[in-house]
């Protein structure tokens, strides 16, 4: 077994690390990925002390997934040995709210593996993980810069926290705010990435974003008209009712067969704030939310026709709340219980760009 998954509840972080050491005795962990309830203080330090030879990255979490289980107040751990990950390079980019230039960081990471040409020649083996600390609200700009600096595919999500907890990401035995943790994995047997958003096109009508504030995630106009007015028109409802439709009818950038969801936050400052900014010029469709369990099953079954070594699920917190509300936690988790898997409830997901109300999944073969 080249990947082991653990769900641990401990009295504190040291107890979690101790339990992990017992469970992983005789396992040579090369890379450890963990999602820790924000109830735990300094889990990164305890794990780094316990597993000094492993690269360890992670994120705080509102709630955690492991195999067929959904928990809060626990730590989900995925330990990968050389049977699944041949090599890994980890970098932390701090202060991601500032204007970013990521070329030097990515060039350095490429060089770790012998350069961009080596990566291009073995493209099917290299994949990136990105973990954002979510308070910076800069993920869409970061993902845009990342996509400019590298051809590698990065998948991941943004940290979350339990009520009253602190949102953090972890690497190098330290915790970070306003930062992104990047890891490039040279997998041993390859990988697959999938994305499922359980959102479908509600209206074929394309709406062009003609006025927006990308950095502050405010949408003002579609087709040179107030966006709320146009959104109401598409839905066929009164403008004073639109907030009732924000969750069930988000927006989506439709790129070929892929939908990239942008969810609404609230009406504000003459516009509508989103959980992900939209650049002017973007064309969007209004979406409708479908059945999360059915759509996730279809997406997993279509993409995974083999026995994977491990599956990492970055599942939007909105989706977690939705399956909790609909009493669908058990069937949802059963889908992931078919594989060694971990996941957490994210405050945004990463796949080419920053997206919402989506599950991005990294499958390690």
């Amino acid at each position: 077994m080249s990947i082991k998954t653990l769900s641990i509840k401990g009295t504190d972080s040291r107890d979690v690390a101790r339990q992990a050491r017992e469970a992983l005795a005789d396992f040579q962990t090369k890379l450890m990925l963990f999602f820790a309830s924000s109830d735990y203080e300094n889990p990164e330090a305890a794990l780094a002390e316990t597993f000094p030879d492993a690269e360890i990255i992670g994120s705080s979490a509102h709630s955690e997934y492991c195999n067929a289980g959904y928990t809060s107040g626990s730590v989900s751990i995925m330990a990968m040995d050389a049977g699944s990950v041949e090599d890994v390079c980890v970098q932390v980019v701090e202060n991601i709210g500032a204007e970013l230039e990521l070329r030097d960081v990515l060039n350095g990471m490429h060089a770790h593996f012998g350069g961009a040409d080596e990566i291009l020649a073995n493209f099917e083996r290299y994949v990136g993980i990105v973990l954002f600390e979510s308070s910076a609200k800069a993920e869409e700009i970061f993902m845009d810069r990342l996509g400019t600096a590298t051809d590698l595919l990065f998948v991941g999500g943004s940290s979350s926290a339990a009520d009253g907890g602190k949102s953090l990401v972890y690497a190098n035995g330290r915790s970070y705010t306003g930062a992104a943790v990047l890891a490039i994995l040279k997998t041993t047997n390859g990988y697959d990435v999938l994305k499922t958003q359980s959102a479908h096109i509600f209206s074929e009508r394309k709406l062009a974003v003609t006025k927006s504030d990308l950095h502050n995630r405010i949408l003002y106009e579609f087709d040179h008209r107030p966006c709320g007015e146009v959104y109401a028109e598409v839905l066929g409802v009164g403008q004073d009712e639109i907030q009732n439709y924000f969750v069930c009818n988000p927006l989506g950038v439709v790129a070929g067969d892929e939908i990239f969801v942008r969810t609404f936050n609230q009406i504000q400052d003459g516009g509508i704030t989103l959980h992900c900014g939209l650049p002017e010029g973007t064309e969007i469709n209004v979406l409708k939310i479908g059945d999360i369990v059915d759509d996730t099953r279809k997406a997993l079954d279509e993409a995974i026709s083999y026995e994977p070594a491990g599956v990492i699920n970055f599942n939007c917190l909105y989706r977690t709340l939705e399956i909790l509300n609909k009493d669908q936690v058990e069937p949802y988790c059963a889908l992931f219980g078919r594989y060694p898997s971990i996941g957490f409830s994210t405050n945004g997901e990463a796949f080419f760009g920053h997206i919402n109300e989506t599950s991005t999944v990294l499958v390690i073969k």
Partner: protein
């Protein structure tokens, strides 16, 4: 112009070509809306030029 950016950046790799296409959508260029016969839109052309520069390709 859009296809030139994709082709130059992808260097013949179909997976990368698809990913560049997606990145263009997310940058606000609705790739499939335009064909070689589409009338020139100065704003879109300027945006594509800027993206090409970011990608380090010449159009």
């Amino acid at each position: 112009m859009i296809e030139t950016v994709i082709a130059q950046k992808a260097k013949g790799n179909a997976v990368i070509a698809n990913s560049i296409r997606t990145k263009l959508y997310l940058k606000g260029v609705a790739v499939d809306k335009f064909t070689a016969a589409s009338p020139d839109d100065p704003a879109v052309m300027q945006k594509v030029r800027e993206i090409a520069k970011e990608f380090g390709v010449i159009v």
